[in-house]
Amino acid sequence: MTGIDATYRKKRLDRGIKVRSDSVFAISSYREILYLVLPRVVPVITLLVLPLILKGYWGKVLVFACMYGLLALSWDFLASCGLFSLGQSLFFGFGAYVAGTLSYYLHLTPAITLPIATLGGGLLSAALLSPVVRLRGVYFAMVTLMLPMLLMKMIEATGLVGGSHGLSALVPFHNEWISTYMAVVTFLVCLFGFRRLINEDYGLVLKAIRDDDRAVMSAAINIYWRKIQALFIAGAVGSFAGAFMTHHYQFVGMSAFALDYSILPVAAAALGGPGTFAGAALGSMILVPLSESLRALGGLRIALYCGVLIGSVILLPEGIFHYMERKYHQFETFVKVG
């Protein structure tokens, strides 16, 4: 590496087509339109077609991937306003337990429990975390890491909502097609919705909070209220995943607060590249099938995620998505220096 650095350096240039198609007015040819549209349309079509092709076991894996993807998106959303969560399972667990309790004690169908659990889980998460939105970075992460573990112990100790046995025999989805497509469509809506939202005025404020919260405060914006709103949105997305999985398994138990749901979304976002949502989605689409095919390894799977996580943080800090994006938009050449 040092030998190359001495006389050559890497030069990156935007492709002409990128420069032209950056501006809406310049779109004049099919080629340029395709250049813009293809990276968005191909994944959408792939995801919509996959349930038709994948049957049985791998169809279920696709649903898992979408649900973990939702958790990863929710992580990425929180991260883009400076809240680093290590406890996505908190959101997941809230959704799962709200849906589970409603379904178990009142025998409600998923059509009713899912919306209630989504909103209720979001509200619960925002309410529980509202005392700690004043914390930043590592401190917020510490609290979010502990809360699901403590809640899990509390359920175990007090025996509330099923205790360590959980609640079983819940109302299932009537139609597998509907549930599969609901998972896929929610995932896609969430992905593109977040990508849009973060570039609107609302999202810009959130990103500004991450970059410099004092500056946002001096613009007379209540950053704590904004952070609570962000927590509600992220919590609702996570809770939807939890509620969905509850009806999918027809069971809810303490495992809803398990570490899997915290560590995999972070691993997915770190692998795919944080900050773009597409990275988080891509990461979960890679990691979940990978981990399902390694199911035989049992507990070693989590160790494997951790390995992926450490590796991607250290070796490819920008993430796969940023890497791909760069290759798509830019030439790289070595130019001679001096």
Binding site: M142, G307, V313
Partner: protein, 288 residues
């Protein structure tokens, strides 16, 4: 009376859990989320030396402490050095490494009744009608001894001076020739070694399981947050508050509600005084 005695024991145990974590954080600002994993790992290292290599107890304990310190040092030098200063990455890497260690231990089958460290001292005495075994008294002694030793070390040796220098102001310390990476690695090594000491005195009172690692991490974080992260006196006071809170709760309300104590302590402290009981103002700026 028994509340008083067992409250003290629980508090000292909590303080021992937190000591290493707090030391590392206080010096290099590195929140070592692998602390619980290192704690239980050193327990298993000691166990393997005793039961598989057949070493005497004190030799294996010493070796376990040394190895744990080396692991901490290597962990810093191999992994953390590359991402030093990026708070999120540090967090992810220590957290992931901790979970990886714990899950690998579980996967290797390190759980069950046969895995327990021997007691140092058997038997016990009665203090004012309350039976206490020697091991628990020994834990109290170790806790106090370690605190004094640490105080002396930090205030009266060159490395201790360098520790305090880095903790106060990293750049100024650098300009005086204190290498921050070296000190950072040493602080992590010391933190891990302290975790090992805690493991060796506390673990004989129960069985060893990798899930204990998570509990240790939770308690260490709770005590550290409640006390104010880098303050030693805050840490001691916080561990007494939580320790006594737990013992009193277990006695008068019911053992299953014990877990409420750390949870409510954290939420209360963060809502009222975000920098922790003894945290400094500098910390407040940084945290809020």
């Amino acid at each position: 009376m028994s509340t008083l005695i067992y409250g003290t024991i629980t508090s000292i145990v909590l303080a021992l859990y937190t000591l290493g974590f707090s030391l590392t954080y206080g010096i290099s600002g590195l929140a070592n989320f692998a602390h619980g994993a290192l704690y239980i790992l050193s327990g298993f290292i000691a166990w393997s030396f005793i039961n598989q290599a057949g070493f005497p107890f004190f030799l294996s304990a010493l070796l376990a402490i040394l190895i744990s310190g080396l692991i901490g040092f290597a962990f810093y030098w191999v992994l953390l050095l590359r991402i030093r200063g990026i708070a999120l990455s540090e967090l992810i890497v220590t957290f992931a490494a901790g979970i990886a260690i714990l899950e690998l231990l579980t996967w290797r089958g390190f759980y069950g009744i046969q895995y327990s460290l021997p007691l140092f001292l058997r038997g016990g005495i009665e203090i004012k009608g309350v039976a206490v075994d020697y091991q628990r008294l020994f834990v109290i002694g170790t806790g106090i001894f370690l605190l004094i030793l640490l105080y002396l070390f930090v205030h009266h040796t060159k490395i201790g001076l360098a520790f305090r220098g880095i903790a106060q102001n990293e750049r100024t310390a650098l300009s005086l020739g204190i290498e921050s990476d070296w000190i950072g690695a040493l602080s992590l090594a010391f933190g891990s070694a302290l975790a090992a000491v805690a493991a060796i005195v506390i673990l004989p009172m129960g069985i060893m399981e990798s899930t204990i690692g998570y509990n240790v991490l939770i308690y260490a974080l709770t005590v550290a947050i409640v006390g104010g992260l880098e303050s030693t006196s805050g840490m001691i006071v916080a561990s007494f508050i939580i320790g006594f809170g737990q013992v009193v709760t277990a006695r008068y309300i019911g053992a299953q509600w014990m877990i409420i104590v750390p949870l409510s302590a954290i939420i209360l402290v963060l809502a009222i005084r975000p920098s922790g009981l003894f945290g400094k103002f500098k910390e407040l700026e940084e945290r809020v």
